[in-house]
Each structure stands twice: as C-alpha cells, then as structure tokens.
C-alpha cells in the first residue's frame, strides 16, 4: 500500500515537472445544450493532437491542456465549438443544436444513422419545424418541408388527416400513401390521435435502400415518427404551452346567386327551353316562363304570384320574404382553436422519462364539427445493468367530434347541400303565402320540402333533397365520432457480447373507432320510423413483434454492422354495427329502440411474416456501402404467390474527406450517394383480393341471401417498385450554404390494377397484376445561413421537387378512367376529356371539337360539333400533378425576437372544377344553386359569350370538358410565427428557465390561379364538394421550469 503511494507521488511529481515545463494545467467544466441539459459523452479534444477526454453523465469533463491550445467540443447533432484555453481553469460550454448537421442522428429503418452515413434519400423534419405550425394531424407539418413529399388535406373537418404521396403516384389501385411507423412499429390507427408535441422527429424515407427494410410495404415511401425521450442525469424539466386562437375558412366556397338572381336565371332557362327546344314563339316562351317559373321551382320567395315578368325582371312591388343563405347558416367564421400542453422530461443515472398531456379543442368551419382531443404519452427507458436495457413507450389518446358530413357524396353533406339547394328554399316551413308555419308551441318547423301540409300547392314540395333539411339534420340529429387509440411499445435489449446485441420489440395498438348517428324521430329521413340510431364500433388491433440481432465491429478503418431481423405482423379488423328505429321523443340511445333494423359485424385478419438482413460497411467514414434483403409472406396473396423477396443496395463517397479537398475552405463537405432496390406493395383494399366470395347479409322475405362479388384472380401477386436514387450533398464555407440535389427513377411493375371488363359480362373489372408505371424527377434543397451573430441570425431555405409520372406498360392500348386515359407514355393523371370550342353566337349552343375520320379510321380533319356524345376526347397534355412543388422558409432572430415563415407552393397542376361546373347552368333540373357567372350566358343571336344559353332541359353544356379545366398554381403562407423570449436574467429571478410569448398564423395568405375554392383538392385534380380548410391565428405562451 505504501509502495503504491510512493509510486503515485513519484508519478505526480514527474507529471508536475512535465506540465510545468509545458505550462500544462487542468481545465474542467460542464457541457450542456441550450436547455441547460448535460450532454454526456461529448468529446473534448485538443485540436491537432490525439489527446482528448469525454464528458461524464453529468456533462462534466476535465482535461490537462496548455494555455494557448484549442479545445474542440463535439457532440453528434450539435454544432462543434472551439475554445482557446486562456487563464481560466473552468470552461463551461453550451452547444447549439444543429438542424442540418451532417452528424445529426437520423432515425432510419430499424435503427438510426448519422446523416453523413446515409446512402439513400432521407428527409427529416425536427420538432423545431413542427412547433412552428398548428397541425391537428401532425403530418401536415411535412408540407413544404421535405422535397418530394406531396401532401394535401381534403376538406376542413378538424383532425382530417392529409393525403401523402412520396415521389409521385406509385400504384394505381393499391394504397399509394407511405407506410407510417411510430417508434419502430407500423401504425394503423388514425394519425390525428397523436399530438404534435409528442414528436421528436419525423423521417421520410424516399428511396429503396433507406426503406428497404420496410420493403414489403414501402413502395409509397416510409414515414418514421419518433417520439420524445428524456435525458439521462437531468433534473425534471416542465414545459407548459398554451395557445388560444381564432380560425376562419381560408378560401371559402364558390359564390352563389341570391333569390332574385336565381329566379331571373331560371326564368331565362325556362324561356330558352320553351323557345329554342319546344319551338314556342318568343312571346309565348317568355309568358310561359313567367307563368311556369314558380311551379317549376315549387317555392316562391316573393310576395307576388309570378315574381318575374316577361322581360325577365323582378316585377315592381315584389318583396323578398326570405333568403336562405345556407353557407352562412352552416359554415361559421371566427371559430375557436385552443391547445394546452404540459410535458415533463428528465432522467436519473440509469433511467430517463418523458411524459406529456395535450388538450386540443378545435371547432372547425362546418357547424358543429367540434373536435376535442386529449392525448398523453409516457416514454420510459432504463438500463437495468451493463448488458440489459428495457423500455416502454405508451400513449393514450381520445378524440371526439361531431361529424357534420362535409366530404362524402351524400345529399346532406354540408357543401353538397349548399351547392345543391338554392337560396329560394326556406329553412323553416312556409304556407302558400310565404308566412311561417308554427307548431302548437309557436315554434318554427324545419322545412323538409316533402309536403308538410297536404294539398298546399306552393312552398311545399321541393324538386330536390325532399325530406331533408341540413340544419334539421345538424341540430336535431347527432353525428359523433370518438377515436380511442392505445399504443404500447415494449423493448428489451441484451448485449450478448461486446459487439453483438439482441433486441426484442413488441408493440400493440388498439384503435377503436366509435361512430354514432341519430336521425330525429320527428323531422327528416327517419321521421317515418320514429327516429333511427346507427352505432358502429370498429376495432383495429395490430400486434407486431420484431426480433433483431446486431453485430457492430470496427477493424482499423473498416466499420461493419450486420443486422438479422424477423418480424411477425398481425392486423385485425373487428367491426360491429347495431341499428334500430322507433324512439320516443328525447330518446337517442339504442336501448330505446322498439324496432331493431340492422345488425352487422365481422372480424378479419391479415398477417405478414418477414425475414430481413442488412449489412452496413464503411471505410474510414469515407466510403459507405449498404446491402439489405427482405423476404415477406403476406396473407393477402394465395399460398403459391404469397412470398416476395426485396433486395436493395447503396453506396456513398464522402469526397471532401479525400486529400485533394481536405483543406478546402470553400467546399467544406461533398458527398455522392446512390442506391437501387426493390420495394413491395400488398396494400389492397380487400384483405383477400385473390378470392371472390358470396357476400352475406342480404335478406328477402325473411330469408338469408348471399351474392357473388365479382371475379378474382387467384394468381395475384406482390406489386413491386424498382427504385433508383442518386444524390449529392454539399456544404460551402462551413455551412454558410448547404444543400442536396437528387435524381430518382422508380418504376412500379406488376401493378395490381383493375382490368376493365365490359359491363355486359356482369362485372366491371378484374383485379390482376398488369401494367407498369414510372415516377422520376429531381429534388433539391438549399439552406443558407445569411447572418449569424449573437444578436442577429437569419437563415433561409428552399426546397422543391420536379416529378414526372409515366405509364410504361398497360394490358391494352388504352384504359379510360373517368377524366383520365391511361396510355403508355402519358401519366396516370393526364386529362383526357372533350375539348370546349366555345359558343356558337348564332344560336348560343356550346360546341366541342371532334375528329373527322376517313374510311380507314384516320383523322382527316378537326371540326366543331354541338353534340357532346359525338365530340372527341383528346389528350389535353395537362396533368393534375404539378410540374414543380416545394417550400420556402426563412428564420430571423434579433435579440429576443424571432420570426419564422414557411411558404409552400405548387405550379403546373390542373384542376377540373366540377364544383364550379355544377353551378354553371344547373337549370336542367330545378332547385340547385347557381353561380352568378351564369349572367354571362348567351341571350340573343349574335351575342359573343363563352357561356352558352341557359336551358331548363337536358343538355351537356356543363358536362366534363376543357371548359372547366383550370390551371391550379398556388403559393401559400403556410405558417408564420413571431416570438419573443423574455431575457433569462428577468425570468431566472422567478425560477423559470424559459418564457416565450408568440403569435402564430397558419394558412394566412394564399395566392392562387383558380379562384373560388381551396387549391388543395385532390391529386387526381377533381373537386368533390369539400369543405374549406381553416386559417388560424393564435397567441401562445411557453413556460419552462
């Protein structure tokens, strides 16, 4: 013992001598992040030497160093910092997080990698980006943030999930969206059940090599959502965030005619039909239109019997008795959005945790679509001993909303109603004189337009939407949707040897969709049966088990990592329906039903069993290679065809690590990367697409019935995508300008498609593997750090993608699909419709172009025709897919103030606006709303107009043609955040570590080429009476302590 002490003293003496000789001293300190949390494992290196140390669990370090030497602090995901050692023996360091850091850890398939080592195409959105937006469904934050990700939200029901396409349309009939993976497990619930604050990062895997390990379901790309975790050895940090704001419709809906205008337009249509279709004289035609107008419409909102005179004007003295502005009744303004959130995170030496509770209340544009959600999460991870680690991530979420229908095709869908029923039809029942009818209590009665008072000749029976009243449905009926989602994700990791580890992960998801609807017992569709309750409970459960072995080893400059993984996935859909009628007033629960009307339910399961392998190799972090293979068996295919193999590989070369670039001050980083591989798609709508069965459930005279559902292809097999990606990443002047450029080309083969069959076969299609489609294009992102001083920071970023889509193989020359035609060489969304040739000024009739064919079927001429059925459909060379889309961001910080803006844009897409065409000349059947543009219609021979004459008889003027095909370019200010952080010295006095006040505005400005409705409609370029999206302005506060 003594000897040892002497020895120690001796050593110290020697070191002391040496150090005094080199003026060496001991420097210590603590390394933390901007939140004052320790950064354990930070490497502390003396520049240009091999000497170094690293921080402990508490972020503390100490190192012997000479004055004048430079200490370099490095931590993955943070900006490196260099400090020259001076007189002080204590150097405390705060490292800034680096959003674009090459060393940033990126979550990838079944693991994570540094950004530098990625050989494929991965886009990342961090919580910092998500926090600048208010997204009820979290993935809406991806819009404009990652090149190559197209995203649109159809309709304004709060909590609506966006439709996401990554790198184009990779399938025709199967799911085209990405696979969503939450903390490593495939997610099948509703995304809106996850609150945005729980998310640490979102990775978008775009190419084959990065997503290959999800190969069987990754043809539409993969989105990995990683939830937040606590930090080891950190004190509990509590964050409170509260936001209150007001929303309004962004764009709204198309303009509609008021009652007077509506009557004038209908009169014009009636007169024209009388005169030009039925051959009456001009005088008779006008007189008959005047006399027949109210009878034609069924209702008279004016005080005189024939309110429109024979010149088409309102007669003198006619008073308007009512004007039903259905839009104002149904679509509200200045509706509330509330969001409160509290989270706690921290950790001890072995255990770390994150918990959060989020409350959201969003009223939504359509009355009364109030969306309310509570979501919570607990992520826990503990290192049991030096070889064993356990973790459990759980979340629970419940959202409830009324669900006024605003996207379906039903007549009581809010927008369908507004567009489908003109302002002349009253909300409340009127007698023949237009006086309100009241019930025995003196209350008004909703007008259903189906003859409330027998024998009342006017104001009684509507020509459209009989038996319905949207307001009655919304106020007397109930539509409730409750979504409950429970996720548990357990993992255990065993380090078997130093380099070999085994991990097991078991995740379970339980998603319950509860849908309740009540139709009133007195008014509306169910009045005949004294009310109806329909109650669905659809339970989706997913159990996923992953076992993986990982071997990581470094041999000199060779770095090797090998994974072997098996996965078993079970997804079960378990639905239950009960429906009954016959309710007493005030009763709306199923137990109160006197007549059961329908019951239903089914439980159906699909499974996937997979075996995966992956090898990663790099040489001196300069040359990277990756190879993976996946073999999947899916229950969606027949036994003989159910197994699919998916291979992928990739490589990258960090050129800036080569000697010839090492010293470059200008080009500080340059990397080339490329990948190629196969991905699969089995996500058919049907779970057994290779089987045609006899569907049960029909009934006739009390006997059970079954019916055959079409014809199926027993040999159906996996749809595959062959994907190539080439990219370059660069950084100039140490990050002043950085960016990436990528080219990709992915071809989907063995597409599972509908082979159209003529209806005379009794079916309309057979689902089979036919056809190939290709998506290819360029993606670029650029980021510049314009200023970066202590007081002032300014960064800008832009990203965009140019995508092309092209059929490469089809089973027949052409397949017509609505407004599109599939032919090899054209895209899936190229419009193939009749071409509008304007209005013939002599008779006001609309014209279209048609080809003239000779005896051999060759086109000899192109002429106009007034017969729509004769008109030729042409490839318009216009697609609903944009030529270019992307986003632009800018961040400015001046002292305590910061401002962040995000624009997203899309150019070159086209929209076939059938919402609009439905409002143009709707008079062929009475009752529907009309656009004021109808006043532009042709009136007299010689009139030059692009609007043909209005007709109250069957015609094709508003039928699908280029007349209603519009360019759909837009730029939207998607989010704007202005924040103020109170100075630290002020708030530290009251025990807070952060106080931030901010104003946030979403979707606040939109510039668009086609006005009237939201530019975000659908990838196929078709409108569908969708409710408007919201623009929201909120103020908020963040407190941290």
């Amino acid at each position: 013992m003594k000897v040892r002490n002497y020895y120690l003293v001796f050593v110290l003496m020697v070191f002391g001598l040496l150090s005094s000789f080199a003026q060496e001293k001991k420097v210590s300190g603590r390394v933390v992040d901007t939140n004052n949390l320790p950064l354990p494992g930070t490497s502390v290196v003396i520049k240009n030497t091999t000497r170094g140390a690293s921080t402990d669990f508490d972020g503390n370090y100490s190192i012997n160093v000479s004055a004048g030497e430079v200490l370099e602090f490095r931590f993955v995901g943070y900006v490196n910092k260099e400090v020259t050692v001076g007189a002080s023996n204590t150097i405390n360091i705060t490292l800034q997080e680096d959003a674009t850091s090459l060393e940033e850890v990126v979550v990838v398939a079944y693991g994570s990698q540094t950004r530098e080592s990625i050989v494929g195409a991965v886009g990342v959105v961090s919580s910092a980006t998500i926090e600048t937006q208010q997204v009820t469904s979290p993935l809406r934050a991806l819009q404009g943030a990652v090149p190559g990700v197209s995203l649109l939200t159809a309709g304004g029901q709060p909590g609506n999930n966006p439709i996401i396409r990554i790198r184009g349309i990779s399938s025709q009939s199967l799911a085209r969206g990405p696979l969503i993976v939450v903390d490593g497990a495939p997610f099948n619930g509703n995304l809106s059940t996850i609150s945005q604050d729980q998310i640490a990062s979102v990775s978008v895997l775009k190419d084959a090599s990065s997503s290959a390990l999800y190969g069987s379901r990754a043809s539409g790309g993969v989105i990995l959502i990683t939830t937040k975790k606590g930090h080891i050895n950190s004190a509990p940090k509590i964050t409170l965030r509260s936001q209150i704001g007001i929303s309004n419709p962004t764009i709204g809906i198309h303009n509609l005619a008021n009652p007077e205008d509506y009557l004038k337009l209908t009169w014009q249509a009636l007169r024209n039909t009388n005169q030009y279709e039925n051959g009456q004289t001009a005088t008779d035609a006008a007189q008959n239109a005047t006399n027949g107008l109210i009878d034609h419409l069924g209702y008279n909102p004016f005080s005189v019997a024939n309110p429109i005179d024979t010149s088409g004007n309102l007669v003198a003295g006619a008073n308007l008795l009512w004007n039903s502005n259905w839009e104002e009744e149904v679509i509200r303004e200045n509706y509330l959005r509330l969001n409160h959130n509290v989270s706690v995170s921290g950790g001890s030496e072995k255990t770390r945790y994150f918990m959060s509770l989020d409350y959201l209340d969003e009223e939504g544009p359509v009355t009364p679509s109030d969306f309310e959600r509570v979501s919570s999460r607990l992520n826990l991870e503990t290192q049991v001993n030096d070889w064993f680690k356990l973790g459990l991530n759980t979340s629970f979420s419940r959202s409830s909303s009324n669900n006024p229908d605003q996207t379906s095709g039903s007549t009581i869908q809010a927008i369908t109603w507004i567009y489908g029923l003109s302002s002349i039809y009253p909300i409340y029942a009127r007698d023949a004189n237009g006086t309100l009818i009241r019930d025995s209590f003196g209350e008004r009665i909703f007008d259903l337009g189906n003859g409330l008072v027998t024998g009342q000749s006017v104001n009684s029976t509507r020509p459209v939407f009989n038996g319905e009243n949207l307001l009655a449905t919304l106020t007397l009926g109930k539509e409730r949707r409750v979504r409950t989602n429970y996720l548990a994700n357990f993992f255990a990791q065993v380090n078997i040897f130093k380099d070999l580890s085994f991990k097991t992960q078991l995740s379970y998801e339980n998603y319950l969709f509860d849908s309740f609807s009540f139709d009133d017992d007195k008014i509306g569709v169910a009045s005949e049966v004294s009310g109806r309750v329909s109650h669905n409970r659809d339970l989706t459960t997913t159990l996923n088990a992953i076992q993986s072995l990982n071997y990581t080893k470094r041999f000199g400059n060779h770095n090797l990592s090998i994974d072997a993984i098996t996965e078993a996935y079970t997804n079960t859909q378990d639905n239950l329906l009960a429906q009954g009628t016959g309710f007493l007033p005030g009763v709306d629960n199923l137990s109160g039903s006197t007549t059961p009307e329908a019951v239903g339910g089914n439980m159906i399961t699909s499974r996937i069993n997979s075996y995966l392998g992956r090898v990663n190799y790099n040489f001196s972090e300069k040359y990277y290679g990756e190879f993976s293979i996946r073999r999947d068996g899916s229950t969606r295919f027949n036994q003989d065809t159910r197994w699919g193999n998916f291979l992928a590989g990739g490589a990258s070369w960090v050129i800036s690590r080569e000697d010839f670039l090492k010293g470059s001050q200008a080009l500080t980083f340059l990397k080339l990367r490329g990948s190629y591989g196969e991905l699969g798609n089995n996500r058919t709508t049907s779970r057994f697409p290779y089987q045609s069965v006899f569907q049960t459930g029909s009934v006739n005279e009390g006997n059970p019935g079954v019916l055959l559902e079409g014809v199926s292809d027993l040999n159906l097999q996996w749809e595959k995508v062959e994907s190539l990606n080439i990219g370059v990443d660069f950084e100039l002047f140490n990050g002043a300008l950085s960016g990436a450029l990528e080219y990709y080309n992915k071809e989907s083969v063995d597409l599972i498609m509908d082979r159209p069959k003529p209806r005379s076969l009794g079916i309309n299609k057979v689902v089979t593997n036919i056809g190939s489609i290709k998506n290819f294009g360029w993606e670029a992102s650029l980021r510049s750090l314009n200023f970066n001083t202590d007081d002032f920071t300014w960064t800008t970023g832009i990203n965009f993608a140019l995508n092309k889509n092209e059929w490469t193989k089809l089973p027949q020359d052409e397949i017509l699909d609505g407004s599109k035609r599939y032919v090899v060489g054209s895209s899936i969304f190229d419009f193939f419709i009749r071409e509008w040739a304007g209005v013939d000024p002599t008779d006001g009739r609309g014209m279209w172009y048609m080809d003239v064919l000779d005896a051999n079927g060759n086109v000899t001429d192109k002429v106009t025709t007034k017969d729509y059925d004769q008109a030729t459909r042409y490839d318009q060379g216009k697609s609903s897919l944009p030529d270019i889309e992307g986003g632009f961001t800018s961040f400015v910080r001046y002292k305590q103030f910061d401002l962040n803006v995000l624009f997203n844009f899309s150019f070159g897409a086209h929209l076939l606006d059938t919402d609009y065409s439905g409002l143009i000349n709707p008079f062929e059947s009475p009752g529907g709303s009309a656009h004021p543009d109808n006043f532009n219609a042709w009136q007299n021979p010689g009139d030059a107009s692009d609007f043909p004459l209005l007709l109250a008889s069957n015609n094709d003027h508003a039928s699908r043609s280029t007349r209603f095909l519009f360019g759909n370019d837009y730029i939207r200010l998607k989010s704007l955040t202005l924040g103020y952080n109170l100075p630290e010295r002020t708030i530290s006095r009251i025990g807070l570590s952060k106080v931030r006040l901010f104003l946030q505005a979403d979707n606040i400005l939109t510039w668009q080429s086609h006005k009237g409705i939201d530019p975000e409609q659908a990838f196929n370029g078709l409108t569908n009476r969708r409710s408007p999206l919201s623009k929201t302005i909120t103020s908020g506060i963040v407190l941290e302590f």
Binding site: G451, N700, N703, V706, L708
Partner: protein
C-alpha cells in the same frame, strides 16, 4: 466465471423470444376470409343455393350500385333514387307515357324522353343491372351442373329458376336497348353470354334480336316444366311467374298466340273471374298477399326496406311525406267510370298549373309497401288479347268483362269487335296497370304505336311509332371496354 453466468442468461433470453415467434406457414395459413362464403360451399348445400337466389331478389329491391364489385369505382354507378333496382327500371317506363305526368323531380329526364344518351345514368344502370343478374344466373347454372353434392331434383329446380331469371333479364334488355323485335329481327345490339364470367372472359360481339329471343324462349320453355308452384314467398319466381314472363314475351313476338293464351292461363289459373279479385284498390296497393298478385318486391319496414326510393310509391303518394312528384293526366282520369274502384283520383292542390290537377291515391307509401311486378289481372288481359288475335272475339270479350265487372259493378259486356275490341283491351290494360310496369310504353313499343301527349303535360313530346326514343343507346362504358362492340353501334 461471472461472465459465463450472464452469458447463459442472455442466450436463454434470446432463445425464449426466438421460440415464441413460431412457425411461418401456419402463421400465414390461419387467417381466413370472413367476408363471405366460397362458391364450393354455396353449391354444396340446397339452403345455400336458395340463399344465392334470395340474394338476387334482395338486389332487385335494394338501393343498387356497383358496391358488390367495388365500392369506390371511379366510373361506377352510384346509388340514386331513379336507378335503385328493378322497380326503377319499370317506373322509368311508366313516366314515358301520356297517362301520368312527372313533376321536375327524379325521373324528369325519362319523362321528357331525353335520357337515352350513351353516358347517361339511365342507360348505364339498365344495361349493367340486367347483365349483372344474367351473370348470376349463369354462375348458378354452371355451379349447379358442376356440383357433386347436390341431388338431381335440386339441380333441376334451381337450374329452372336460373334460366327463368336469365330469360327475364334478356327480355328486359331487348325491350330497353333494341328497336321493336317485329320490325327487324336481325338488328344486333346485345351480346349473349350463357357461361359464367371468369378472369379471362372477354366482351362478346352483339347478337341479332332473333338469337336473343330464341334464347329467351328456349330458356323459358326448358324451365317451366321443371318449376313447381312451391316457393318461399311471392317475391320468388315459381311456375306461374315463369308462365307470366313467357306470356309477356309472346305479346312482343306476336307469333304464337295460342301459347300466349295457355301461358297466361297457367299463370292466372284458368278461372278469370276468380283470378281478378283484388282487395288492393283503395287500400294502398301495397300488399303481396293479395290473391291477384303473382310476383312482387317484398318490404316489411324494418331490415327489409329501401326507405325513400321505392317507386312508384314515393312518387305517386301525395298524402305522405315523400317526393310527391307524379300527377295524372285529366283525360286519363276521365276514362274511368265513377263506379270504377280504380278511379282513385283527387284534386288536392287546387293548383292553377294545369298538369297538377289530379293525383292518384292508388299507391300508399310506407317503408313496408310491397311492389307489384306481376298480377293475374294482367294475365287475364293477355289471354283476352291472345284470344282476340286467335280470332276468338267472344272469348276475348268475356275475359275482358271478367275483369271489368270485378272493378266496376256497372260494367257491361263489350260489344266491340275488330280493332275497337283490341283498343278496348289495351285501354283496360292502362286502367288496370297504370303506375306499375310501364304498360303504355310496353304496348306502344311492341305494337309500333306512337305515344302522343296531351297539351296538359308538363313536357309535351310526341314520340312517333318506332322512334329511336323507344330504346336506349348502348352505354359508352360498354363500347370503351368491349373490343367486340362496334364503335358506331349508336350511329
């Protein structure tokens, strides 16, 4: 030493987990398609075959769309009140005549004779609906033939039902999509299929009308001997119904009046006076159990109802909350004697609009209203027409009178002869069957007569005899998808 202990524990953990993951093929074989039952099961059991036939009748009266094959089809037929099922096809014929007037509501384009375009909903529905059922009939015939577990009697019985169904729907297609059979039997507009559609089936070229009618007649003639009068209910086809269909077909072909007579008699039972007794008049015309009714749609207001779509009830009844859209031509109303139980007309609106003067209370709408598809009274009138054409005018008058006196106590035996007698029979058909099966249109079409509308109509269109307005265009979707359908079929 310690390192080996932990290694054991670690390996044990790994092994336990690996063991729990189990065997792949079993894991994948286990899930079964619970969405329905397979063809093998259907054709292994009498009850299951019966359920297939039941499913077809449920389809007749449902809210029809393409949902069975694809609920999300881009060019699919969506549910609509005017294309909801078999009843909608008949009501479209009903509103094409002169006796009834349709307000601008559902069926307004059919009423105005402007709904035959190749891309219109009517055209697409009528084509698709009938061919869909024809394929079911073919599946049934093949499945029965190939079944090894069904007995011959069962096979014979259900094959006969399937052939009757096939004949019935080819007959409807021929009526809807082709000109009058008697003018030119070589016109080729309808492809014929007698095998079940498979993955590899291709669209066929259209066959001549004479081939279509040959198939209809051979199917019916083969089916009738194998059918019995037994059935699960009056919404099902039995021997009488098959005979009734045959009688209707022969009204079109007009080349075998004696068979038309005997088929009609087989349908109504031979005793005209007993056959025409009905309690439906004035009570809502909504009950299958009426002895006069041979065949109809069944509804019971609970799980078997299609709500607000069931024509004619929802359109013709003006006293119940519904569409209230069908009015009666005053001149038609005047054809009825005051003592006729069928004179169920009233002026409830006192409207100044001429066409809105009269509505009928023949049909009463509830969710439980059964819908007539075939009645014995119609068969008696077919018999009368057949007797007239066979030159047996006294018998024709007697048959006519059997019905007339049952409906109107003051009726007298007709003294007409020759064409006047035929006109009287045809008028009686209109008076007896208005609103039900499109009798005016059917008679005008088969007899090459015009439909001229009185001035009172909302839309006055005169349809000349044998006008193209008597048949629909072949749907564009068929032309697009069937390489063997001539592109210019509609020109």
């Amino acid at each position: 030493m310690k390192i080996y202990n932990t290694l054991h524990i670690k390996l044990l953990l790994v092994l336990v987990v690996a063991f729990l993951t189990g065997c792949a093929e079993e894991f994948l074989d286990e899930p079964k398609n619970t969405g329905g039952i397979s063809e093998e099961i259907v054709f292994s059991d009498r009850d299951a075959v019966q359920a297939f036939i039941t499913g077809i009748y449920a389809r007749y009266k449902g809210q029809w769309d393409d949902d069975l094959t694809d609920d999300n089809l881009v060019n699919g037929n969506n549910s609509n009140a005017d294309t909801g099922g078999l009843y909608a096809m008949y009501f479209a014929r009903t509103v094409k005549g002169n006796d009834l007037i349709q307000a601008p509501s559902w069926f307004l384009f059919d009423y105005a004779h402007e709904n035959r375009g190749a891309s219109f909903r009517r055209t697409s529905f009528t084509w698709t609906f009938n061919y869909e059922i024809i394929n079911y009939a073919n599946v049934l015939i093949e499945g029965l033939a190939e079944s090894t577990s069904l007995d011959d009697a069962t096979k014979r019985e259900f094959t006969a039902v399937a052939k009757t169904l096939r004949a019935f729907h080819y007959f409807q297609l021929a009526l809807e999509f082709a000109p009058n059979y008697n003018n030119d039997r070589s016109v080729a507009r309808l492809p014929i299929y007698t095998e079940a559609t498979t993955v590899d089936s291709e669209g066929r070229a259209p066959s001549s009308l004479s081939n279509v009618y040959d198939l209809i007649l051979s199917d019916l003639n083969e089916a009738i001997p194998d059918l019995t009068e037994d059935r699960l209910g009056k919404s099902y086809i039995n021997r009488s119904v098959a005979n009734g269909i045959l009688a209707r077909v022969l009204l079109v072909t007009q080349d075998n009046w004696s068979l038309a007579s005997s088929a009609a008699r087989a349908a109504y039972g031979g005793d005209a006076a007993a056959a025409v007794v009905s309690s439906a008049w004035g009570t809502g015309f909504d009950d299958l159990s009426d002895q006069d009714w041979l065949w109809g749609h069944f509804q019971d207001g609970s799980n078997e109802t299609n709500f607000f779509w069931m024509a004619p009830f929802v359109f013709m009844d003006h006293l119940t909350l519904s569409f209230q859209a069908t009015y009666v031509n005053t001149n038609f109303r005047d054809e009825f004697a005051d003592s006729d139980v069928r004179k169920l007309f009233s002026d409830i609106y006192s409207s100044t609009t001429p066409y809105r003067e009269f509505v009928t209370t023949k049909f009463e709408f509830t969710f439980a209203s059964d819908v007539p598809l075939m009645r014995k009274s119609e068969m008696v009138l077919i018999d009368a027409e057949a007797q007239y054409n066979l030159g047996n005018e006294p018998e024709a008058r007697n048959l006519l009178f059997a019905l007339q006196k049952e409906r109107d106590a003051n009726a007298t035996l007709s003294v007409s002869s020759g064409n006047a007698l035929l006109e009287e029979i045809l008028l009686e058909r209109r008076k007896e069957l208005y609103g039900e099966i499109g009798v005016e249109w059917f008679d005008a079409k088969r007899l090459s007569r015009p439909i001229n509308r009185d001035a009172i109509h909302r839309v006055v269109v005169d349809v000349p005899a044998d006008s193209e307005l008597f048949y629909l265009n072949i749907p564009q979707s068929e032309i697009d998808a069937n390489p063997n359908m001539p592109e210019n079929i509609n020109q």
